[in-house]
């Protein structure tokens, strides 16, 4: 009996709340708040709150055109790959389901199935979907967009992984679920302390962790395709980049992925760095703060060129994450002696 209940709970969790529909709704809201903030900071009025939904509904009602010269199977598969990656990553994230704070965080029943490395792969799958989309569409803009996406993925994945390793070493676990539980007990990763850490070293350690955090955020920006790293979709140069040839339902799927991305990536950031929530409300507020930070960086920046972005990730982001990682390890070594 309990087994059946658990399965039903898991399905509800995955399809409705807090995975699935709820996450999609929140992602759309985050996307809207980004667009609205952007509009207001540019002295514009901005879209109404239902704009994202209206766009998606419109796209699903439109005719899907597949170019004759495109690779048909891959062309159709690409948005599905991206969406699959995004949704699966969402299911594996331990999102607190309780409305009010509780002693023990109720987290995803699915989250026990995989560790952080799988999530890393799944998040890359979103970008792989775009690359496949661009490469299969037989459009020069799509091809250039795909090649830029590959470049960006290659350059951002390394600092992204290194900063995650920094978190993992401190947490001493690979499971995101355990990270969440641990943070709930000991406080968010960014400011938590280890037993026997003297204040000076603590401050130093926090600085290192902030380095990791910044590097991570920069990579998230690249994954979201936001300025200054929206190079694959640089509209003035290569139209919509990989998505140039897409229309109708297939583009609608990409839009759904995009809306979900606005929830998944901030949520992932929160879980890794400032997690430990037992209530969905504080969790969403933290996500929103991350969204605001990302949105604001997007607003005040122009776009890098792809070679400049590559250099930036190799020089700045990778350096930051390595400094954070090595520093963190040294501090831990000094205290624990492992």
């Amino acid at each position: 009996m309990t087994d059946v209940m658990e399965v039903i709970l898991a399905i509800i969790y995955a399809a409705l709340y807090p995975g699935g529909l709820f996450a999609f709704f929140m992602g759309a809201m985050f996307l809207w708040s980004y667009r609205k903030l952007r509009a207001r900071m540019q002295s514009r009025v901005g879209p109404p709150w239902y704009q994202v939904f209206a766009d998606i509904v419109k796209l699903f009602n439109k005719e899907t055109i597949i170019p004759k010269v495109a690779h048909r199977t891959l062309f159709v598969l690409a948005p599905i790959i991206a969406l699959t990656g995004c949704v699966t990553a969402l299911w594996l994230l331990p999102i607190p389901a309780h409305v009010l704070p509780t002693a023990e965080p109720l987290v995803s029943p699915l989250a026990f199935w995989a560790d952080i490395i799988v999530i890393l792969y799944l998040l890359a799958l979103i970008e792989v979907g775009e690359i496949v989309a661009g490469a299969s569409s037989a459009s020069p803009y799509g091809a250039v967009g795909a090649s830029r996406r590959v470049n960006l993925l290659l350059s951002s994945e390394l600092p992204f992984a290194v900063s995650i390793v920094g978190v993992v070493i401190f947490m001493k676990t690979l499971s995101v679920n355990e990270m969440m539980v641990k943070q709930a007990k000991e406080g968010p990763f960014l400011i938590t302390s280890v037993e026997g850490l003297d204040p000076m070293l603590y401050v130093l350690s926090v600085v290192f962790r902030i380095c990791l955090f910044i590097s991570f955020l920069l990579c998230v920006l690249a994954k979201m395709g936001k300025r200054p790293f929206d190079i694959p979709e640089a509209e003035c140069e290569i139209l919509a980049g990989p998505l140039t040839e897409y229309s109708g339902k297939l583009l609608g799927l990409f839009e759904v992925t995009n809306a979900l991305k606005w929830f998944v990536l901030p949520a992932f950031t929160v879980i890794l760095f400032i997690g430990g929530d037992t209530s969905i409300i504080t969790f969403l507020i933290k996500c929103f703060v991350i969204v605001l930070i990302l949105a604001y960086i997007d607003i005040i920046n122009p776009r890098y060129r792809i070679d400049q972005a590559y250099k930036f990730f190799m020089k700045v982001a990778l350096l930051l994450s390595l400094v954070g990682l090595v520093g963190e390890m040294l501090v831990l070594y000094a205290v624990v002696g492992v």
Partner: protein, 386 residues
């Protein structure tokens, strides 16, 4: 691996149809081909079928952005043919509208340039400030774009005290807002990374291609019709020509930025020195003859040639727009740059394609210096067998 990237004829970064064919290796541009001819409208032919008065409004529509420059040039040339001089007040009013137009055109370009490098926030803010200039033009001339302000022998509307006060007030607003914009542009490291040293047009190349306007002034060619061959009331105003050495996109941006300041100065000065009197001289007939006129449009030197046969319809009108000279110079700028910079470099000469489309450019590639004979042409296009 070399690939061909088409930019245009229809492309988001291009406001008008033009075809840039880029041969690329990876992201580097190895060769570029510029093709015009998608936007031919036959304006010169139309002009030969309309009266001089109707033509004012026709030439205003040659270009949507520098429409005042076109009518000024046209009216000046016709005045030359007819042998009349517009009254002093009209000359100062022409400067007023021309400089307002230059401000609006340069701000528009600046906004577009920011949009191309992806800085939409500054783009929106620049266009927000530009709205004040548009409002002024609307109040002074009666419309936001095709002003219909010039007429043969003067201008069509006068400014009153209230308008003058408003212009001065708005000029202060624009100057304040623009100060901030310029500060933001100059501060930004990412903008600098995108525009500095990109798309360099050397002094020699600039001379070879005969570029005009801000493009030329960014490459150390001190040429400005307002100084070289003063028309309207420019010789009675105090202003400076902006010249930069580098020839890259940054220099082209800065030339335009400082020209906006000069224009604001000139607008204020022309209002202060505005003499009283009539605004139009009567023109009754156009004796046979020909005339040649030029003005400094926001994009550079604009040339009109008019031949009259004594009727009220011109026998021939020839227009040479500044973009005609500038577009060809995009090619040396594009070589060895990346695709990401191509739209920016192309936009940096502020091309106005619709204005230019009156002539066919025959562009021979650098390495293949082959000029097609008529026979070859017929064979190639299937009119004749080998």
């Amino acid at each position: 691996m070399a690939a061909t990237i088409p930019i245009g004829p229809y492309h988001v970064a291009l406001k008008e149809p033009i075809f840039l064919k880029l041969e690329v290796e990876g992201e580097r541009i190895k060769d570029a081909d510029i093709k015009l001819g998608y936007h031919h409208r036959g304006i010169e032919y139309l002009a030969m079928r309309r009266t001089y008065w109707q033509n004012i409004f026709l030439f205003e529509r040659v270009c949507g952005i520098c429409s005042d420059a076109h009518t000024t040039c046209y009216c000046q040339t016709v005045e030359d043919v007819a042998g009349v001089t517009p009254p002093e007040r009209a000359l100062f009013l022409r400067v007023l509208v021309a400089e307002l137009e230059r401000i609006h055109s340069h701000l528009l370009w600046l906004g577009v340039a920011m949009h191309i490098i992806g800085f939409d926030t500054l783009f929106m803010q620049i266009w927000r400030d530009r709205e004040y200039v548009q409002d002024l033009l609307e109040i002074i001339t009666g419309n936001r774009v095709n002003y219909a302000y010039n007429t043969i022998g003067g201008v069509r509307r006068d400014v009153d005290e209230k308008t003058i006060r408003l212009v001065k007030k708005y000029m202060d607003t624009i100057k304040n807002a623009f100060d901030k914009t310029v500060e933001a542009i100059l501060q930004d490291p990412v903008i600098e990374a995108r525009v500095k040293g990109v798309g360099v047009l050397t002094h020699e190349e600039a001379k070879r291609y005969g570029v005009v306007g801000p493009t030329a002034r960014a490459s150390r060619i001190a040429s400005d019709i307002r100084k070289d061959d003063p028309y309207a009331a420019y010789d009675r105003l105090d202003w400076e020509m902006i010249v930069f050495d580098e020839g890259d996109v940054l220099a082209k941006t800065l030339v335009r930025v400082y020209e906006v300041y000069e224009s604001i100065k000139m607008v204020n000065e022309s209002l202060e020195k505005l003499p009283p009197g009539p605004i139009v001289t009567e023109v009754s007939r156009f004796p046979p003859g020909e005339a040649f006129g030029r003005v400094e449009a926001p994009r550079g030197e604009l040339v009109y040639y008019i031949k009259s046969n004594g009727t009220n319809v011109p026998e021939r009108v020839k227009v040479r727009t500044p973009s005609f000279m500038n577009i060809a110079s995009v090619k040396p700028m594009l070589l060895e740059e990346t695709i990401a910079d191509a739209p920016l470099i192309f936009a940096s000469v502020d091309p106005c394609v619709a204005c230019t489309e009156r002539v066919i450019i025959v562009d021979s590639r650098t390495n293949e210096k082959k000029i097609m004979t008529f026979n070859e042409f017929m064979i190639r296009y299937g009119r004749k067998r080998k």
